[in-house]
Subunit: 315 residues, 2 copies
Amino acid sequence: MSLVVIGSVAFDALETPFGKTDKIIGGAATYISLSASYSLKPVKLVAVVGDDFPQSDILLLEEHGVDVEGLQVKPGEKSFFWSGIYSKDLNSRETLVTELNVLADFDPILPDSYQDCKYLMLGNLAPQVQRLVIQRLVNRPKLIVMDTMNFWMDIALDDLIATIEMVDVLSINDEEARQLSGEYSLVKAARKILDMGPKYLIIKKGEHGALLFHAQKQKLKIFYAPALPLEEVFDPTGAGDTFAGGFIGHLAATDDISFDNMKRAVIHGSAMASFCVEKFGTERLLNLKPEEIEAREKQFADLVEVVPATAVQNV
Amino acid sequence: MSLVVIGSVAFDALETPFGKTDKIIGGAATYISLSASYSLKPVKLVAVVGDDFPQSDILLLEEHGVDVEGLQVKPGEKSFFWSGIYSKDLNSRETLVTELNVLADFDPILPDSYQDCKYLMLGNLAPQVQRLVIQRLVNRPKLIVMDTMNFWMDIALDDLIATIEMVDVLSINDEEARQLSGEYSLVKAARKILDMGPKYLIIKKGEHGALLFHAQKQKLKIFYAPALPLEEVFDPTGAGDTFAGGFIGHLAATDDISFDNMKRAVIHGSAMASFCVEKFGTERLLNLKPEEIEAREKQFADLVEVVPATAVQNV
């Protein structure tokens, strides 16, 4: 099932209470693609970098089953660069540097071989660029998942709403859901956002897990996937993108977009995200073994498991 | 299975974004007792009020199966009074008035008929008073659950630690767990707090649910009970106490303190708390029907239910 991912491929320089990095590979589409690659290959990437982007990092993506035909390399230009420093509790971060560079006038060109796209993941980017990708696909994908952030709510709300209207699943965090809807209650926020067009809404709550909402004839179905309580969070960068990549990767690999399978996709995405935060940047996503992922998913299942008292009596 | 509850019985005056109340019945032991009464009766109450406390409120407790033999009424004195105002999002509150009154020199006297206590719930109170109750019971109860708050960490830490050492289950919120342990990671916090004596730790996370921890030969068992996402939270006062009452009420009624049953007790407590916040004060706890509680518990189960993909294939 062909999966196309669009988003930033970039340099990050990170500082957490545990250390700091020089420029390392980052960007929404990088995390999404690496995460999804554990579910299916190839992951067809649409992104842009400058010629400062090392060939070795492009090779790294290819080695993980990422199709880079749609990765534009702009001669004489520089890659998107973001630098940030996290608070002691890792719950907030301050942006030190944002250099848009090649991203400033990114024109997402889709190779012909991407036109078989059945699953489309719109990683965080300017909403008009996300929309352009939908418009350039000859056939509407079976499922479009969109991630975005508060930044676009602040500066491009109309564009954002026009794009949200076109997607099936929107993935945002709790603060963003509140900002977008103007409602504090996440249930009320979900109703309003689902009225904007998407059939499904994922609200990411970081260490508190994720909620999946789906409105069916005015009745709201809710699934709550708690996050695994972790001994140590090393670097939260990319956790949300890794979640999204795991989510759509699972759906594309199983080609099943039922609500039941979306729940499993949320659990798989949460498990992938729980790996991501264990090391700096993408490091932990580069060498995961299938049995590690399976064991982690089992931990998520165990975390909420309740044996009904009656089940014991009925044995 | 005899259940004894100690804590404050008091007046509250509340203001939330949805309205305000005059002095209404409140206090940790009130919420705990009412909540537990849906699991078993009688609930043997140890508390103190002044003679300003209306007979009708005492009758109300009795009508709900609360044994008030251990409720001292101090002539010429005034009941504990707390007044507070909640922030718009209900996530924080400001204390306007705290009048200790009869609580200032509360001597918790246990009637002889309370000496059969098998389950003891220490609601939030000065830790030296909580400890006194344990010491005054001739036989150590089968299970002691303790609730407390950051206030005692600030002003009576040594007393608090000495009391925590004597209990089986400690129930606190996430901020309090972090303050008590000095650890930001709740997993690390749980390890440290379980080293202080309790066999079980409940960390309440409000709208994000509750965690139950149990250390077994250095291995940490974790259960995550998400909170039900609610359309409307009307008044969060007493939610933590209602949770605790439901928790110990379920354990006492089933007389089963296995980890599996504690999980069910956490779900039951969470369900009771989700009712509590729907109206002002204790109002919603006064007329709950068993089938309402059962339906709510079912909603909690549905919220996290994932059907494994293999289960479908095996049918």
